[in-house]
Amino acid sequence: MLNWTKYHILEKIKDDRILLWNTFLGKGITLVGNIAPICESEVSGVWSGEDSKAKQILQSNGFLIEKDQYDVEGKLISKMRSETVYDDSFMSITIIPTDTCNFNCIYCYQSDTIHNMSKETADSIIRMIARKKTLRKLHISWFGGEPLCNKEIVFYIMEGINRVCKERGIVLIADMTTNASLLDLPTFIRLYDLKVLNYQITIDGCKKTHDVQRPLKSGGSSYDMILKNLRDIRDNAKGRFFKIGIRTNFTDFVDNQFAAMKDTLEEEFSNDSRFYFFFQWVKNWGGNRISGIMDRLLSDDEAISHYGRWMDQMAQTSVRTGDITLIRPCSGLCVGCRKNSFIVDTDGSICKCTTGMYDKDYRDRVVIGKIEKNGLYKIDKWKEIDWLSMDADQNECEKCAQYPICLGMPCPYYKIKHKRVICNKKTDYVCKIILAMEKQGHIQEIRI
């Protein structure tokens, strides 16, 4: 007897077109043609449709599974969670080389402090990695402040880590969240060779809106600097294995200038799979600066309804929209949720959340240890367990299509701060991403 996997999302696009996404396998298909046998059947539990080509395709793509598989798929994901959370062969370290920044963004939660990571702390990070004997895969993230305000330490650490990883045959990959103003071509090429391959940069709409939301600390425009760097990289970087995610932080101001933004992105980054685009709506992320624009923020519900519209409009361009990495199995787990994942602050403190570490009321819960000079690090196990435990309702999660992505471990900082779990189900973001991917032709189409 065949059953629908619990972990699928189904969207009817037209009368003869249906999109299916398997969240467990992290892939989807678009069925075109006679989709009636699917639409007229129940799309959960036992397959009630007739024997047809559609049924065969659904089965071969993992949407219809045998009863005994159906009975254990939730347990399999729970097992995947414990293996992922406690995996000792993988480490993900976010490094803050500086907390200073050359921008003065209107919504930034960070304060105006200047702490730069010392060479001594840099050495202790390299030693910490060298000491981890079980390590097979290492993921480094650069974050700040603006990490490139302390470029030399970034290079120094990456060179040291590359050395260790080569010696030990450890797979290494790194990414960076940067405002891109200092990401000139020589810097980019050097970082590429050191395996910093994925970037998240931010452009808040067109020049007019971006320069209001993300001015330089000195007061000037940052838009032209960023665009010049991106053009240089686009035209002159030889390597193909990098990805630059362009993020836009949405406010009503950006929304009003949406068309101008769309035109620029289309002109600059069309049909180039190395660049992709995604949104975030501006929220109260904490800090003092946000108080100046509180009246301009969208509520979550408003933002969710706009989100579909923005994705839809961007999907009509040929700028890649809808990043599959956000909806792959396990991708919903942030660093806070994994035992061997953490943030190293400028002074070598080990923290669990990049937002929470700047929340003075909760910093003590977020900092769970410190790296010593010799690379050893001590973790406060009592604090750590708050981050690693699953407190969502497992029974509910096992029934949820997003379970393979979220693993029932949404934002632990929120849980610690508000003493309740925030579930991502209502944002429906998976659906919006797959719809954008479908529109741009990134999902396999099968005729039935």
Binding site: R136, K137, C165, G169, I170, V171, I173, R240, F241
Partner: protein, 83 residues
């Protein structure tokens, strides 16, 4: 120690990228995920001064260490011809 042959050097590169490859196992099927694949491709680019084009982006046809070696030969040849 400077490795004398291309093959020895290549095997060392693969080992540095986390592959347990030896001369006897060049034709064995490799197991890798996207992270290891991308990391390896960038190491190969750096080591051999080549740029790997889009045709290899998805790893199609790169199942064994020998496939990777053939790719490097081919790309080096093409780049030499261009110069």
């Amino acid at each position: 120690m400077v490795k004398e042959t291309f093959l020895e050097d290549f095997i060392l590169t693969m080992n540095e990228c986390g592959f347990d490859v030896a001369e006897e196992s060049l034709d064995d099927e490799l197991q890798y995920d996207s992270l290891q694949f991308v990391s390896t491709m960038v190491s190969i680019e750096e080591k051999y001064g080549i740029t790997i084009p889009d045709d290899y982006m998805l790893g199609e046809g790169l199942d064994t260490a020998r496939d990777f070696i053939n790719m490097v030969y081919l790309l080096k040849e093409t780049e030499d011809e261009k110069q």
